[in-house]
C-alpha cells in the first residue's frame, strides 16, 4: 500500500547541534506507528518537522505523495495532519468547547466581514460548528464540561480534550507526543483501549512517540527506533525487540527500563 507519510532523509541542524540526521521512515495508512528512543533522540523534533514548526535543513516530507516540506503549519493542518503535545498545550483560558471550535473552524471558512456583520449564513455555519463540536466532545466523554475553562479540567480530561481538539481537524494522520506521559499503569491500560477506539472509530492513522514500552509493543503495528537523531531499527514489535542495536541503545540500559 502507498504510504500516507514519507519522511525522506530529513536532517535538522540547530547551529552545531544535529537533532535529526538523515531520518527516513514511512507510515502506512491505517497503522499505528510508534517512534521510540532515549531522551534527546530527536523524536519531538521529528514531529515539529512533520507539522511544519521547523523547516528541515535537508530532506523531504511527503504526505499522500505530495511534498509538505516548508509548508506553513496551518497549511499542513488543513491537509490532514493533527497533533498533541508532550506537555499539554490547551488554550487554558478558553472554554472546553472553544478549544475544539478553533480546530473545527479550520474547515469552516474564515470570512471575517461575514462574521463581523453576522450574516445569516455565517450564523448558520457557526451553529453547525458548535453542534459538531458538542457531538465530538460527547464522544470523548467531555459532554458535561463543555462550558468549563479548559485549564480547570483534571489532568486526564485535559489529555482527552487535547486529542479531541486534534480530531476536530478531521485529520487522516494523528501525531501523539507521549500520550501516556504522567499516567500510572492502570491509566495507561485505559489509554491503550481508548487509542484503539480512536483508531477504529475515526479510522485515523497514528504516529506516536512513547516511552511506555508496554504500550508501544502492544499497540503499534510498526516501530521506528531513534538514537542520536538516527534511525537504528525499524519493524514490528517482535523484530525491534530482538534487534541487538536497540537492546544496546535503549532496552539494554541498566537503568533504562522505561
Amino acid at each position: 500500500m502507498k504510504p500516507l507519510l514519507e519522511v525522506r532523509g530529513v536532517t535538522m541542524r540547530f547551529g552545531g547541534l544535529v537533532a535529526l540526521s538523515d531520518l527516513s521512515f514511512d507510515v502506512t495508512p491505517g497503522h499505528a506507528h510508534g517512534i521510540i528512543g532515549p531522551n534527546g533522540a530527536g523524536k519531538t523534533t521529528a514531529f515539529n518537522v512533520i507539522t511544519g514548526i521547523y523547516a528541515p535543513t535537508q530532506g523531504d516530507v511527503l504526505f499522500r505523495g505530495e511534498s509538505i516540506t516548508g509548508c506553513r503549519p496551518s497549511t499542513i493542518a488543513h491537509r490532514g495532519i493533527a497533533r498533541t503535545f508532550q506537555n499539554i498545550r490547551l488554550f487554558r483560558d478558553l472554554t472546553v468547547l472553544d478549544n475544539v471550535r478553533i480546530a473545527c473552524d479550520a474547515h469552516a471558512r474564515y470570512s471575517w466581514p461575514g462574521a463581523m456583520i453576522q450574516l445569516p449564513s455565517a450564523r448558520q455555519a457557526e451553529k453547525e460548528t458548535i453542534g459538531r463540536c458538542t457531538d465530538l466532545l460527547e464522544k470523548f466523554g467531555l459532554g458535561n464540561e463543555i462550558h468549563e475553562r479548559a485549564g480547570d479540567l483534571p489532568y486526564g480530561s485535559q489529555r482527552r480534550l487535547e486529542i479531541a481538539r486534534a480530531m476536530a481537524l478531521q485529520p487522516s494522520l494523528l501525531l501523539l507526543d507521549e500520550p501516556a506521559a504522567g499516567m500510572n499503569s492502570a491509566e495507561t491500560l485505559n489509554l491503550v483501549e481508548f487509542l484503539g477506539w480512536l483508531r477504529d472509530h475515526f479510522s485515523v492513522t497514528m504516529l506516536l512517540i512513547e516511552h511506555h514500552m508496554q504500550l508501544v509493543m502492544t499497540f503499534c503495528d510498526r516501530i521506528t527506533v531513534l538514537d542520536f537523531g538516527k534511525t537504528i531499527a525499524e519493524g514490528t514489535a517482535d523484530e525491534v525487540r530482538k534487534n541487538p542495536e536497540v537492546i544496546e541503545a535503549y532496552l539494554g540500559q541498566e537503568d533504562g527500563h522505561e
Binding site: 511544519g52 498545550r89 478553533i102 473552524d105 463581523m116 457557526e126
Partner: protein
Amino acid sequence: MDYFAQQAINAIQLGSIYALIALGYSMVYGVLVMINFAHGDVFMVSSFFCFLLLLVLPVPFVVALLLVMLATALLGVCIERLAYRPLRNAPRVSAIITALGCGLVIQNTTLSISPYSQRMPELFTPVTWNFAGLTISSLQILIVGTSVGLMLALDFFIRKTRYGMAMRAIAQDRITVPLMGVPVNQVIAVTFAIGAALGGAAGVLYASAYPVISATMGVLVGWKAFVAAVIGGIGNVRGAVLGAYVLGAVEVFTVTVLPSTYRDLIVYTLLLVILIFKPYGLLGRPAVQKV
C-alpha cells in the same frame, strides 16, 4: 453638584475617546506581546484623513466616520505587513524601535505636508440641551454613543466570532494555533485592522470635539491612551476600557480642583501607584510563561 455632574459628562466624553485608542494598544499587545507605539500617530493621521475628506467632499458624519475607519484600517494593516511582520521573531527591542520609528515617520510625513495646525470643518452642527441644570450637546451624545457602540461590537466580536476566538487563542499560545489550521497571519492582520479602525473612529470624534488638529497631537493623546491600557491591564480589552474611563475622570476632576498644569502630574502618579499595587493593571492577570 451641577458643576460636578457637568464635569462627569466631560469625563465620560474624554474617557470614551481614550478607550477607543487604548483598545488598539491592548488588542495588538494581546496577540503579539508588542507595544504598537505608532498607534498614537495612526490616531492623529486619521483626523487628517477626515480633514482631507471634508475638504474634498462635505459628507455627513456617518459616511466620514466609516470612510476614515476604513482608510485607517488599511494603514494599520500596511504597517503590520511592511514593518512588524518581518520582525516577528526578532528581539523584542527591535520591534519596539520599529514601532517608534513608524510613529515618527507618520508624524513627520504629516508635518511635512501640513506644518501648521488645521481647523477642522464642522462635521455637523451640534444642538445643545439644558436639562436639570446640565448642558448636554448632541455632539457629546454622538461621541459617547459611537464609542460605546463600537466597544460593544468589539466585545461581541472577540467573545463570539471565530476571529475573536482565534485572537484569544493566539494570545495564549501562538505556536499551537497554526497547528489547528488557523491562518495566524490573517488573524493578526485583522487585529491590526480593527485596532487601527477604532483609533480612526477616535480621530474623527476627537477632531469633532476639539477641532484644531496638528501633526503632533497623536503623541500626548496616544501616550494617555497607552497609560489607560496599562492601568486597565494591557492585553485585556475590557481593562483598556475601564482604564480609559478612570483616566478620563482623573484628568477632568484634577482640573476642577487643581490648576490644569497639575493634570499630567496626577495622571502619571496614578499610573505609578496603580502599578505598584496592581503590577498587571486593574483587570490584568499574571501571564504564565511556558514553552
